[in-house]
């Protein structure tokens, strides 16, 4: 049987297709792709901190520790408040005693007496997990105990974490620690158990000055999204490429 060139090409193409199709079925989906194919992604939680409004009362830290059962008298905490004092000579001093849980009642910063006349500016900066879009903590977990939800929130599976501490090392913001009771990696969850019920996070509810807000970044009409879109905001340490999703109004270059 003579085979024309056209037949030959046809056969080849068909053959290639037949082999390629099943291979395609085995294509590895990245976790993000897999999630996108099954879950709705109409929600992306984000956070907005207005540093001009924060007075350093520490109510958010208190509320968080109680809500999320992080032993109250341990120094570790899911959220904390930092105090910055910039002197006229450019020197920066900062502290966060007990994560700012009890407010900042001591005029000494870093155990230093400061003459109020020397102060150029001072302010407070609340911190929490940035629920990074590109979270290094998830990347390094050897057993997949740390994972990212479709709505962007990064969680730790307490029943699966082996307690290696790799994620703690990988987070550039120092938000992770070992839970003093469970001894697994622990971090701010944006109070996801409250968000899914339509409530606010505990810290947002606790803040008497409205310095903290949580919102859905995928909803253009959400007040948080509105501010992020229309005003000048910044994120912490963008140079690490983690794409943090906690936005700050009035972030100073001295903030670490």
């Amino acid at each position: 049987m003579r085979q024309t060139r056209r037949d030959f090409l046809k056969t080849i193409t068909r053959g290639a297709l037949v082999t390629a199709l099943p291979l395609g079925a085995f294509k590895f989906l990245s976790p993000r792709e897999a999630r996108a194919s099954v879950e709705s992604t109409k929600v992306r939680w984000g956070f907005l901190v207005d540093t001009f409004k924060c007075v350093g009362c520490g109510f958010c830290v208190k509320a968080c520790k109680l809500e999320n059962e992080v032993p109250y008298d341990t120094p570790v905490t899911r959220t904390w408040v930092e105090r910055y004092v910039i002197l006229k000579n450019g020197r920066m001093l900062a502290d966060t005693p007990m994560g700012g849980r009890d407010g900042f009642t001591d005029p000494k910063v870093q155990e230093e007496e400061i003459n109020p006349k020397d102060i150029a500016k001072g302010f407070f900066v609340p911190k929490l997990c940035n629920q990074c879009e590109n979270p290094p903590c998830v990347q390094v977990c050897p057993v997949g105990a740390t994972y990212q939800r479709a709505d962007g929130v990064v969680l730790v599976d307490r029943s699966w974490c082996i307690g290696c501490g790799y994620c703690i090392m990988a987070c550039p913001y120092g938000v992770r620690f070992f839970h003093p009771v469970y001894h697994t990696a622990e971090k701010c969850t944006f109070c996801i158990h409250r968000l899914v019920k339509g409530m606010n996070t505990a810290c947002v509810d606790a803040c008497p000055f409205g310095a903290r807000k949580v919102g859905n970044l995928k909803d253009p009409n959400d007040p948080v999204t509105q501010v992020i879109l229309n005003q000048r905001v910044a994120v912490l340490k963008p140079e690490y490429g983690t794409k943090p999703q906690v936005y700050y109004i009035g972030l100073d270059e001295n903030v670490r």
């Binding site: 032993p71 341990t74 120094p75 570790v76 905490t77 904390w80 920066m92 001093l93 900062a94 502290d95 966060t96 007990m98 994560g99 870093q110 911190k127 290094p136 998830v138 990347q139 390094v140 977990c141 050897p142 057993v143 997949g144 699966w160 974490c161 082996i162 307690g163 290696c164 501490g165 790799y166 703690i168 090392m169 990988a170 987070c171 550039p172 913001y173 120092g174 938000v175 992770r176 620690f177 070992f178 003093p180 009771v181 469970y182 001894h183 697994t184 140079e239 690490y240 490429g241 670490r256």
Partner: protein, 413 residues
Amino acid sequence: MDVYVHGLEWTLKELFVYPNEFIYWSIQIVMYPYMTGLVAGAFVLSSLYHVFGQEDLKDLAKFALVFSFALLIVAPMPLMFHLQHPMRGMEVFFTPHFTSAISAFGIVFFSYSIIVATEIWFVYRKFFVEQSMALKGKEGLVNRIKWLIYTALTLGAYDISPEALHKDEKAIKILAGVGIPVACFLHGYAGFIFGSVKANALWMTPLMPVIFIMSAIVSGIALCMLTYIIIMEWRKFRIRTSKKPWEMTAEEVGGVELDLMRKTSKYLIGFMIAAITLELLDLVFRGYTAVKSWDILRSIIYGKDFVNIFIKQYTFGNLIPFIMLLLPRPTVKRLVIALSLVLFGVFMMRWNVVIGGQAFSLTFAGYMHYKIPVIPHNMQTFKEGVTGALVIGIMPFVLFWGINKIVPSLKYK
């Protein structure tokens, strides 16, 4: 469950440090790359003979191979001591998350163990067969047990004709050849665990894996040499003090020993030069490019950790032993001191990477100091203190002693 904050007990904070920052990776994470490094180094030493036919290393090769197996068994133990949930450690094998550098551990570790075990088997197959034949039908419980062990170890392969042994030789060569990249990978990836942490200014450099491999080989060779010397000295002592005649005199043993050590130290010096060059390159590069983190790094390297880095690691761990090894007419005493210093130097390098990398805060405006627990008063301070490190440090020798009873790596020629 106990309520405690991990790291609180041994971390001293200074200036501005985030509230959740502590020395989370303590002494066991120093021991971990130190141990894997010794494994890799010992194996590379044995392969120098098997693959590259460095005849001068023949006697040391067999010993290094068996010793590397003992070290290999100990290598994952520091991790076990370190984990907050050691009972869940198995998950790393069952549910590996492949974007993590640690998750590759299971695969690399197992493939490497199989290679080493198979190679040992090929090297000793003839011996196993001979033992099994000789012990067959002998009276006494000990002989029976020994016979059982050796018979099992032959795996039913009794052919020790010259052709079969020749095939064994070939297999050994291939295994040793494959083993070198795997050994380097095993350790290089330990370096990758650190080098890939972008949050840590001191760790993040692509040079980290290569630096780790070089210093690994240095420490592996040094440990093999040191252990060899100690065993030979012990043998000399036994020959001198015993009444029955030995096949060699103490002087002859001493001659062989020194000759072998002189040859091996050449390789050691070569790898030491490579390791130092890379480390200095890293340091110079950091200083020259001086990115944002350099200010705090400089205050650590030239300030807080100056003694650890420049005195303990570079001077005592590198420079002095380097000169001692280069000087002509080596003596056993000098070698022992030089080799111990080399081992100490590599340990200090691991320490300066792991602990030094946590000596400064992520704020770049504060410091943390690791106060290593010496006398333990609970499980934490035992595992992550001097005692835990000592347990890990002694274990390979105990294991080697046991393995050497079955697979004699020193007597059998």
